[in-house]
């Protein structure tokens, strides 16, 4: 798998992502500064977490206008795979590559804690190593993760099976208490219609080694590695 992690000013989770990708592929992903061009022949582009451009205007709004995003939109248009985690999810939304918006957490508090998610869509490049309905734990750390979209968009996402992950309790039950940031319909992560762009707020890359306290997030990276074994 040839993967690149895009680094904007203020991105701070790129090394966590590098560890997760290296663990499943055995090779270092390319770290790409936002002023560089996106090289050809990539299988996966990752937008990592952080606070790109100081979250000015809206989280992800400035990064979405960054020169490299034009290349990333072309990459997406050609069917490239893109993973956006946390601020990366916010950037994908601001760039119009995924629908909806991410509002301030309903509690107004920055959330730094573990959450549980249920896999709603298995069988994609991001989720093939999970069964549908599998529950896994992931850390989250964000102030603006409250997923919002109008009812028509939410119905479309659910109807077309584009909800990737939902916040649940540890048993996989959708509850209000498990939905710490107040997201519409407990949505934690979504997919593009071609299933090749995935964005989510929590950080699976931070649970990929027993030394990190668990390997709950590893299946996402194993799924990606498996999807691109030939490469």
């Amino acid at each position: 798998m040839k993967a690149a992690i895009v680094v904007f000013p203020g991105t701070n989770r790129e090394r966590d992502m590098r560890i997760a990708l290296k663990r499943v592929t055995g090779r270092d992903p390319l770290m790409l500064f936002h002023r560089e061009e996106l090289p050809k022949g990539l299988d996966l582009v990752v937008l990592a977490g952080g606070f790109s451009y100081g979250d000015y205007l809206r989280c992800g709004a400035m990064a979405a206008q960054s020169p490299v995003m034009k290349d990333i939109k072309d990459f997406a248009a050609k069917g490239g795979h893109i993973l956006g985690v946390c601020n990366g999810f916010q950037i994908l939304i601001e760039a119009g590559l995924l629908p909806g918006g991410l509002l301030r957490n309903a509690s107004l508090r920055f959330l730094s804690m573990d959450c549980h998610m249920r896999v709603e869509r298995a069988g994609t490049a991001f989720t093939s190593r999970w069964q549908k309905g599998a529950v896994f734990r992931a850390p989250m750390a964000h102030g603006d993760g409250n997923y919002f979209a109008d009812d028509a968009t939410l119905d479309r996402l659910e109807g077309e099976g584009l909800v990737a992950f939902r916040y649940t309790d540890e048993n996989g039950t959708v509850t209000e208490a498990a939905n710490r940031n107040g997201s519409a319909r407990n949505i934690a992560g979504i997919l593009s219609p071609n299933l090749r762009i995935c964005g989510l707020m929590p950080h699976p890359e931070d649970l990929v080694d027993p030394l990190m306290g668990g390997t709950d997030g590893l299946p996402m990276f194993e799924s990606l590695a498996e999807a691109f074994t030939a490469a």
Binding site: Q65, E94, G101
Partner: protein, 79 residues
């Protein structure tokens, strides 16, 4: 020519910031505040001197960057 872009959370979009301000006002003893919505104002200093063109340029900027029209509405006023 100066233009002011008012960006507000859309009606129906939860505005936790406005809600928190409302609670704080109540805590200070201000009665009779039914609702608070918090947005932002962005001032643009434009070289354009034609008011219609300036307004339309500012609206274009708002649509493309200053507001996220999924969650926010905007209004442009020329100053």
């Amino acid at each position: 020519m100066k233009a002011r872009v008012y960006v507000m959370p859309k009606a129906g979009v939860l505005d936790p910031q406005g809600k928190a301000i409302s609670h704080a006002l109540e805590g200070l003893g201000f009665a009779g505040v039914n609702d608070v919505r918090a947005g932002k104002v962005i001032e643009l200093d434009l070289t354009e001197t034609d008011p219609a063109k300036a307004k339309s340029a500012a609206e274009d900027m708002a649509r493309k960057l200053l507001a996220n029209t999924v969650i926010e509405s905007f209004r442009v006023e020329l100053a």
